[in-house]
Every structure is written in structure tokens, then in C-alpha cells.
């Protein structure tokens, strides 16, 4: 589903740097989510948003910040990257009455 895009697809950074992962959807879905995928853990929810300017923590929010000034964008920021944040990050969205989550193609982040 090309309606939700993530960038960059790959990112390498160093410990302590700030990194922002972008997510953009074209459906005007109200609800958006950030997951991280780690071997042995599956996908875990970091943050989610119910609408512009409304965000809430998920299962593993520490070290991450999100914002949602516009409905279509939901960036995820690592304020001071750590090696433990090396992971694959997925953005997803769902419409108010839609049962299916749409996923972006993921961002593979390596923190050295």
C-alpha cells in the first residue's frame, strides 16, 4: 500500500546523536503508530497518536519523542541515540472505522 511512506529506508548514526525518522500517510487516517522490531521480541509499540496534537505512550517509549502537528505526518525522534535503539522501525496507520492497519516499509536504524 503506497499510501504510507517512511524515510529513510536505512540510517546509520552514532551514539548520542539525534535522529528523526519520518512517516507520511496520504489517507488522512486519524490513528498512527510507531513500532520497533527486534529479533526475539516481535513488534513492540513505541508511541501512537489518535489525531493531530494527540499522542500517547506505548509499551517501549523511553528515549523516543513524537509529534503530530499535521494529520498526515508522524515523525519519531531519538533524542540521544543509544546502541539499544538499533532496530527496524515501522510506522502504521488506520482509519477511524477501518479494521486493517497499513504499514510503511520500515526504517532500518543502526546506532554505532
Amino acid at each position: 500500500d503506497a499510501g504510507i511512506t517512511q524515510s529513510p529506508r536505512y540510517k546509520i548514526t552514532e551514539t548520542g546523536r539525534q535522529v528523526t525518522l519520518m512517516c507520511h500517510q496520504t489517507w488522512s487516517h486519524s490513528y498512527m503508530f510507531w513500532y520497533r522490531q527486534d529479533l526475539g521480541h516481535g513488534l513492540r509499540l513505541i508511541y501512537y497518536s489518535a489525531a493531530a496534537d494527540i499522542t500517547d505512550k506505548g509499551e517501549v517509549p523511553d528515549g523516543y519523542v513524537v509529534s503530530r502537528s499535521k494529520t498526515e505526518n508522524f515523525p519519531l525522534t531519538l533524542e540521544s541515540a543509544t546502541r539499544s535503539q538499533t532496530s527496524v522501525y515501522f510506522c502504521a496507520s488506520v482509519g477511524r472505522r477501518n479494521e486493517k492497519l497499513f504499514f510503511g516499509s520500515g526504517t532500518q536504524l543502526s546506532v554505532l
Binding site: G42, V94, R96, E99, L101, F103, S105
Partner: protein
């Protein structure tokens, strides 16, 4: 909180054979949705099949079917006539019946399926 358990980290199947991937979950809700997602090496998350808990009939999508046992809280995926393209990681996921923010999925840890030619 709901939990989803996939106890087998890896499985292997011979091409054209049938394989079953196991999943159990824990919830206090009576109505909910269950999903199987496929993740090939491209990383794309592909919805394979969905089951509504209030439906007694097991969902089927071509070669993919589920065995949904509500009382046992079990939701296994059966892949018939396995093909090389079925090789991927498979995730079982749970979602409460509420819409919106509660549409967030709770995932199992995943199982890596390999298909032998």
C-alpha cells in the same frame, strides 16, 4: 493486557507439503480480532488472514487457513501446498474490537518459516 505467544522460533517444510504455525493468546475480552502477518526479506508487512472472534467459522484465504479455538485461546495458521515464496517470518497478532487507538496490534515474537525445495 493482552499477550500473544508464538513458542516456535523456527520451522521448516518441504515444498508442496502442509505446515502449521502455532499461536496462543491471553485476553479477558470476549470479542476481538486475530491476524497472521507475513514478513518476507523485503520487510514489508503483509496481512495473510484475519479472524473475528465472534465468528465460529475458521477463516480461509486460498492456501492459508486458520484453526481458531476460542476456548483454548489458540489461533494456528495452516499453509497448504507450501511454495518457496512462503518462506518468511510470520507474526500472530491480536487486536481489541474497539476502533481507533485501540486498533493497535499486539504481536507475538514471530516464527521464521523456511521452505525446502
Amino acid at each position: 493486557a493482552q499477550t500473544v505467544t508464538q513458542s516456535q522460533p523456527e520451522m521448516s517444510v518441504q515444498e508442496a507439503e502442509t505446515v502449521t504455525l502455532s499461536c496462543t493468546y491471553d485476553t479477558s475480552e470476549s470479542d476481538y480480532y486475530l491476524f497472521w502477518y507475513k514478513q518476507p526479506p523485503s520487510r514489508q508487512m503483509i496481512l495473510v488472514i484475519r479472524q473475528e472472534a465472534y465468528k465460529q467459522q475458521n477463516a480461509t484465504e486460498n492456501r492459508f487457513s486458520v484453526n481458531f479455538q476460542k476456548a483454548a485461546k489458540s489461533f494456528s495458521l495452516k499453509i497448504s501446498d507450501s511454495q518457496l515464496g512462503d518462506a518468511a517470518m510470520y507474526f500472530c497478532a491480536y487486536r481489541s474490537p474497539e476502533t481507533g487507538a485501540n486498533s493497535k496490534l499486539t504481536f507475538g515474537k514471530g516464527i521464521t518459516l523456511s521452505v525446502r525445495p
